[in-house]
Amino acid sequence: MNDDTQLARWLAGQLDNDELEVLKNSPRYATLVRIQQNFALIERPNIEDDKMMETIFKQEKRKPKVVPLYSKVWFKAVAASIVIIIGLGIIFTLPQKNSAPNGQTMAFALPDASKVILNAGSQSHYSSLNWDDNRSVDLTGEAYFEVAKGKTFAVHTNLGTVTVLGTHFNVKARGSRFDVVCYEGRVRVQFNGHTTILTAHKGLTVDNGILTGAVTTVTNEKPAWLTGELVFTKEKLAAVIAELERKYDVQINADYRSNQTFTGYLPTNNIDSALRSLALLYPFKVEKRGDTILLKPVDGKK
């Protein structure tokens, strides 16, 4: 017995006599009959057919879409693309400037995928226009280059120029000192009217336009500063201090002079311990005034 459809079947006159008798004895039967009778008095709602029909026939039938080949939109899109391409062309051929602020290094790629890493406090300029035929970078400070094989690649500094074909090398032009180390391949170094070729693992130093010492042999594969180290080879104190300033992004006023050069490593994680290491060789006092570090001679000695 389907109790949840019984009343529907009753309404449709589908109950057999037994079922009907049972239902008639139900307390709600009277109400059900009343409902049924009331429904019988309700008229079916009518709508105005004709008006609706008119409105329907007034509608335009859908036409197949015809897409014009050369629409206004197409022209606009092409014009826009051209402007953008020209615009990008201009942007790409503008001199590209990169710089590494104090305390940071900055790596970037040149148009031929040559790699440049600028040491702290350094800047470079290059023009990407016609790069493959004219690979030229202006450098202020220090940078490590990994040059892709190709046509001549030149790094210009105010102290000299390094030209390579495809190689890894480091160029440092600080103050009056020009350092070039070749790690792979060959580089040609020009300074003050002189030209020297460096082969792999060879480096040179030029100070005040004069080659200092012989060409040195370098054992490492890459410059120490790439891994964050501070390495000095016969460096004047002032230059060491300047390097510390750039590395740590601090201001150091040295009221202490010395002609002693420094060769060795300095810690890179802590300026105080770096200065303490230096102080072992150079007797100075370290004082801090605000954001500036002062180096003062001890006992008034200079």
Binding site: N2, D4, T5, Q6, L7, A8, R9, L11, A12, R28, T31, L32, R34, I35, N38, F39, L41, I42, E43, R44, P45, N46, I47, D49, M52, M53, T55, I56, F57, Q59, E60, K61, R62
Partner: protein
Amino acid sequence: MKQPEIQDICDKIVFSSFFKAQAQTLRNFLYYRFGDKDVAEDITQDAFIKLWQNCAEVRNPKSFVYTVAKNSALNHTAYKKVVFNYTTNNPAANLDYQSPEYILEEKEFRKKFDAAIAGLTEAQRTALLLNRIEGKKYKEIAEMLGISVKAVEKRIHGALIAMSEKIENFR
């Protein structure tokens, strides 16, 4: 239900006769559902317009208009109120003298009746009214609503139970 041969619904005469046969029921179905004549008419008109516009691609016009109408109806949830027009051709009224008490009681009953209808679920209401007012058989209703005959019967049974309870509780 016999299906006539597929006639060209793009033919104005064919379309007109289809419209005359189906539009009222569709519109009333929507009216029972939403209790709003304007909404019911708008959706109906829109469905037939779409049929006319796409007449070349439509295989089954009846299921097409119901599908379109149901889709449009998805945006509506409110129920206003179905207003019943009572026939004045009441045979009983002509034969019997109706005392004022009787007339009053009838009015009272119809109020309860309206309230009971409004208390039904949309599913119960549409099934019941399609049967009672539109005169549709359970099989036809099942087709229109896209459910089984058994489901239609359950809805109607449930509607009657709910209505009788509501009306009795009024007393």
